[in-house]
Amino acid sequence: MNTAKDEFLEILSNYQGILYKVSLVYFKNKPDREDNLQEIIYQLWKSYPSLKNHESIGSWIYAVSINTSISRVKRVSRIEYRETIPELPDKSNIIDEMIMTESFQLLLDAIYNLDELDKSIMLLYLEEKSYDEIAQIIGITKSNVGVRINRAKELLKQNFKK
């Protein structure tokens, strides 16, 4: 195995939680999450040479993971499928076996009701990223981040209470 790939796998291994959580937020079903996880890994590897241009590894991983997930979420075949057969989220696991608490499941259900943009912003907020980091990952201003977070938080709380 070459050095660059070794380094990449080391980074991936340390930050893989991000990939799972982004997939969890955007995809309700295990097969979709697994496909997405694999696609993110591949896209990260493809853009690995550009990592040196990024200030933080975490931001780079979030950006690639979110952009990849958004690009996959609207695949027409899946939309058609979802329109005909109501999709039920897997309550019990992400990728591998994972047990979610009831409150986590409620929170996740509330996140599923947000749009793709708010999902990414809420995910970064829940991950306790600073406004600077969120602005860098999403590509908007810090003040814009603040407004969006407040709005998404309100929506989330409303969904959470339902």
């Binding site: 195995m1 796998l9 080391e10 991936l12 291994s13 893989q16 939680g17 799972y20 959580k21 969890l24 694999q38 696609e39 890994i41 591949y42 896209q43 590897w45 853009s47 550009s50 990592l51 990024h54 950006a63 690639v64 979110i66 952009n67 990849t68 958004i70 690009s71 609207k74 027409v76 939309i79 992400i94 990728i95 591998d96 076996e97 994972m98 047990i99 979610m100 608490t101 409150s103 986590f104 929170l107 749009d115 943009l117 990414s120 907020y125 829940l126 991950e127 306790e128 860098q136 990952i137 999403i138 590509g139 908007i140 814009n144 407004v147 969006r148 938080k153 989330l156 709380k157 959470f160």
Partner: protein, 204 residues
Amino acid sequence: MENNELQKIWKTINAEINQKSKDELNLLLKSKSNQTINKFLIIISISIFVCVGLLVYLMITSLNRQNDLIYLVNNATLGIITLISLISGLLSWYKIENNRYNQPLKNWLEERIYILSKWLTGRYSKLYLFIIPLLYALTVLSIHVYFEDKLFLEVINTEESIIGLIVGTPIGLFVAYFGARKIRKYQLTNLEFLKDLHGRLCNL
């Protein structure tokens, strides 16, 4: 509910994530790379195989019909359009598939919207409406004239040929347009989705 209560709930998942080993991650990467390379090779191979096959056919039939100028013009036009279509088709496909995800969401959206808009609504976006029937007519004529073993003008002046073209053309065009429309519809839906996201990102 306190703001950080949501964050506390969210954090509970960290302990539950089943971390994969480096070998497992490497296996996932390898399998995805192979899938992507295979998809790429299949599309490239089929496109090149069909086009080269058509070009070889055009060359052989042209060599056998050197005395029929209109037939030669028909085949030459078909060959040139086929080559240009192959090259521009592969380039467009590469551009669309080659996503640069390693940038902020807003920049990525803008880049994708630009590429898709150029392809779907740009100056040459409706060219396929003209190219498909032209390619179809030239191919059908080339095959039909060659196997009739007569001069181009003689063949297209017969009643049978005209009826054949009238009956066959709508069927062939329907299949071709159906495929092209399906791809465009998918990409247009995608473009609208990206524009909508970008619009919401820019407008507070």
